[in-house]
């Protein structure tokens, strides 16, 4: 991820934090399993500001998930792609 992206990492992180805040309020059992660590939504929010490595991991997941959701939506609407 870099500043050259259409949406900056900073904007994405802000949006991710909003989502995590909702999760923290609605689902106390939610966890991010990160190797040997298991983090609650609140813990992820707190770490995101300081931990660049975690930022990178979360952004990669976030963008990957967005692409997957878009792909599923497209397939649902237009049928499976032949690759």
């Amino acid at each position: 991820m870099s500043e050259k992206n259409l949406v900056s990492d900073k904007v994405l992180i802000t949006e991710i934090k909003k989502t995590l805040s909702k999760i923290a309020n609605n689902d106390s059992s939610w966890r991010l399993v990160l190797g040997r660590e298991t983090l609650s939504a609140t813990a992820v929010i707190q770490r995101l500001d300081k931990d660049k490595k975690l930022q990178k991991i979360v952004l990669t997941h976030y963008v990957g998930l967005a692409v997957e959701m878009e792909k599923r939506g497209r397939e649902k609407r237009f049928g499976e792609e032949n690759t």
């Binding site: 939610w30 966890r31 991010l32 399993v33 990160l34 040997r36 298991t38 991991i57």
Partner: protein, 168 residues
């Protein structure tokens, strides 16, 4: 074909991956692969070394924690590291362990084995367990030298709660 499946369980992360490995175990059994399992207290170095020698599997599956140069067992010590990875010569290794494909993987390869693993920390969120489960086990089923029997279904997303995954 024979597979040795090693799956420690000693923290919250391994509770999930223990369940993932159970599905690999089940899949192997359905596919007619002879399986020996070393779970929890049995997932320690002497037992792994013994099983690799006596059972002599073609496949070694290890779920869970790892380091750059080791796969970590139930007692927190390495079950496989650079010192004993020659025991994996001629075998195919499939592991979910973090980082182990950095140093251990190439060393296993140098000793004549095949290594399917991760160079980074493995992560997943508990609200995406069906997708994560598929992502983290499907590589074993579709990868490597295994021949998938025509009637064997690939694991699809199952709508299971985290609690049901943990109890499986």
């Amino acid at each position: 074909m024979k597979a040795l499946i090693c799956r420690p369980k000693f923290d919250s992360a391994t509770e999930y991956t223990f369940a993932f490995a159970a599905e690999i175990l089940e899949w192997c059994q359905q596919a007619g692969i002879e399986v020996t399992e070393l779970a929890e207290e049995d997932a320690i170095r002497p037992a792994v070394e013994n099983a690799l020698e006596r059972f002599n599997p073609e496949i070694f599956v290890f779920y869970d924690h790892g380091d750059k140069d080791a796969l970590i067992g139930q007692d927190g010590k390495a079950v496989i590291d650079i010192k004993n990875c020659d025991r994996l010569a001629g075998k195919e290794v499939f592991t979910l362990a973090c980082l182990s494909a950095k140093d251990l993987g190439p060393e296993v390869w140098r000793k004549g084995g095949t290594y399917w693993g991760y160079t980074e920390v493995v992560s997943f969120a508990t609200d995406s367990l069906p997708g994560s489960r598929k992502r983290l086990i499907v590589g074993f089923i579709t990868g490597g030298s295994r021949v998938i029997p025509a009637k064997m279904p690939l694991p699809g997303p199952r709508r299971r709660s985290p609690a049901s995954l943990l109890s499986s």
